[in-house]
Symmetry: C2
Subunit: 332 residues, 2 copies
């Protein structure tokens, strides 16, 4: 391959152990390049897996798309690197960001998850309201027992975090005619929620919740936010959903309340250890639905990621500020 | 009790074998009478169960609310009877209506089920789209296996029957950004569906369905409508929901396609024999969710029924035509 002048080098790197929908393969790239012909002509592309060609690629790479960027001596290894795009939205695994040279922006994939998150939250809310866990258990036991439940409209949901995922949860709840209270860092009002409070005031709203949906990224501020005391203060019969990250919530405390039937149920999409080990107690916790980290991910994930990257590449070429630049201190 | 002049006699009758949410008890009546004081003053009320006081009550009853009105010699037994309200929406159990005197209107409880049906259809569509049956089975087997699915928006649902339940299904699908094709007797257009076809043209739309939701009442026209041939013509991977009545659908054919994984799954709320017997094959049919006839019923059922009855009673007193009068020929 002859390297043209005015050509940038983009390196795509992914790990084979990740689900295939998150891996970057040549077919994905060729399809995206077809959708963005003019921009693709400005690029020379290398595609690697499991860091097999990473060091060689870094020598000339201007841009990199990677789920877990290399942290050691990055500037020396990648003298021309100008921008890193992560494949995921959450960058908690990359904190603290002292490994990242100041002049290299890191952009994440937030915005790719809202549509699927909205539908997953709609489903989770209705499953909890209609006590579907109990109905499914009855089916398993061949027991016909009508469990009548009112419509969910009019009930209150507290959405913790109100970014891409949280707004998806909020849209879901509004479609169901629910009252939405958002908890955010700033507490600044938004039209998508009936009320917004700052995370410092979370205790004033949690006891009002018929349902809680945790969507926030994992940061130093959110780690342990939904602690045992707060879980114990939830309304009897409340429902709980976590599509954010597990260390935000005291799962042991949650499990105790579920086993006592103090809550109507929970839908958890994220766990400390994934895949969840076969002997984990969560598989069999009463009224707990275990989702294998699928609630926010569209299988067209890489397609959307590359489209987003191209739109950002166009901004780069025209000198505009990139979208989705991660705040190195806040961690999202 | 002294019987005032200008007082009508209303008899409430229910069967103890029915779920409690469908039974008429004194507490229900007293609460409703409080909400409609002025109208309630015009009524003398008797409340019976299992026909224990039925014959005595019929002698003087002007109105009756009953799930299964007495069919034998009704006019002779109830000389003053002016109007019967059924507690259910479906009146297929009362067909043919040759037992009903021409001058006694029968009103049903259609309209009471739409809100709950809408939420149940929302949940059923999303459960099928996200292959929740498989996810729940994996949880049962302690298997972590991410099943990634796209959002449902943009997919097509064919709603068979577009009355109270069908319009609920339609609203659900529109909230999810789906394309809605309604199948009705007349095929007359409605704003709630993207397209309406008459039931005679059902074969032209079934193969387009990513999902089918059956909501129609059971009548001579709808019995067997979704027969084996039509089920076999459904798109591979389509999802199926029935919240109407089971004899509309060939369940044996449906079960065969589910077992072959030719469909993504089914959610069935109605069965030929209810309660479903413990040895029924439906409990364990692949990717079938068995709901115990709960999808359209709000536990505030009787409250809504009595409110509806009072609004109709007001129409009666002012000489207006009653709402929800059942067509004796069509059976709904």
């Amino acid at each position: 391959m002859t390297i043209k002048t005015n050509t940038y080098h983009l390196h795509l790197e992914s790990a084979r152990k990740r689900p295939i929908v998150f891996q970057l393969h040549q077919a994905d790239w060729l399809a995206a390049a077809k959708r963005h012909r003019a921009l693709a002509k400005k690029l020379r592309v290398t595609i690697g897996h499991d860091n097999e060609i990473l060091d060689e690629a870094l020598k000339t790479a201007d841009f990199m798309i990677n789920s877990t960027p290399p942290k050691d001596g990055l500037r020396a290894r990648a003298p021309r690197l100008k921008w890193i795009q992560t494949t995921s939205a959450g960058v908690d695994g990359l904190m603290p960001m002292n490994w990242l040279p100041q002049d290299i922006p890191l952009t994440n994939n937030t915005g790719a998850h809202g549509a699927k998150a909205e539908e997953s939250c709609l489903m989770a809310l209705l499953m909890l309201q209609s006590r579907l866990s109990e109905v499914i258990k009855n089916q398993h036991d061949h027991v016909w027992k009508p469990v009548f439940t009112t419509p969910i409209a009019g009930k209150t949901v507290v959405v913790v975090g109100f970014g891409d995922l949280g707004q998806g949860a909020g849209r879901a709840a509004k479609k169901l005619g629910m009252n939405v209270i958002a908890v955010t860092r700033s507490g600044k009002a938004t039209q998508l929620a009936d009320r917004v409070v700052s995370s410092k005031r979370i205790d004033s709203v949690l006891p009002k919740a018929d349902f809680v949906i945790v969507t926030t990224p994992l940061t130093e501020e959110t780690r342990g936010l939904i602690n045992r005391e707060r879980i114990n203060r939830l309304k009897p019969g409340a429902g709980f959903v976590n599509i954010g990250r597990s260390p935000i919530v005291d799962y042991a405390a949650l499990r105790e309340r579920l086993e006592k039937e103090a809550l109507c149920g929970a839908v958890l999409d994220v766990f400390d250890i994934e895949p969840l080990p076969p002997d984990s107690p969560y598989w069999t916790t009463k009224n707990l639905v275990v989702l294998p980290h699928i609630s926010c991910d569209d299988p067209r994930y890489i397609e959307h990621l590359l489209d987003f990257w191209f739109s950002n590449f166009e901004r780069f070429l025209t000198g505009k500020k990139l979208k989705n630049i991660v705040d190195r201190q806040l961690g999202y």
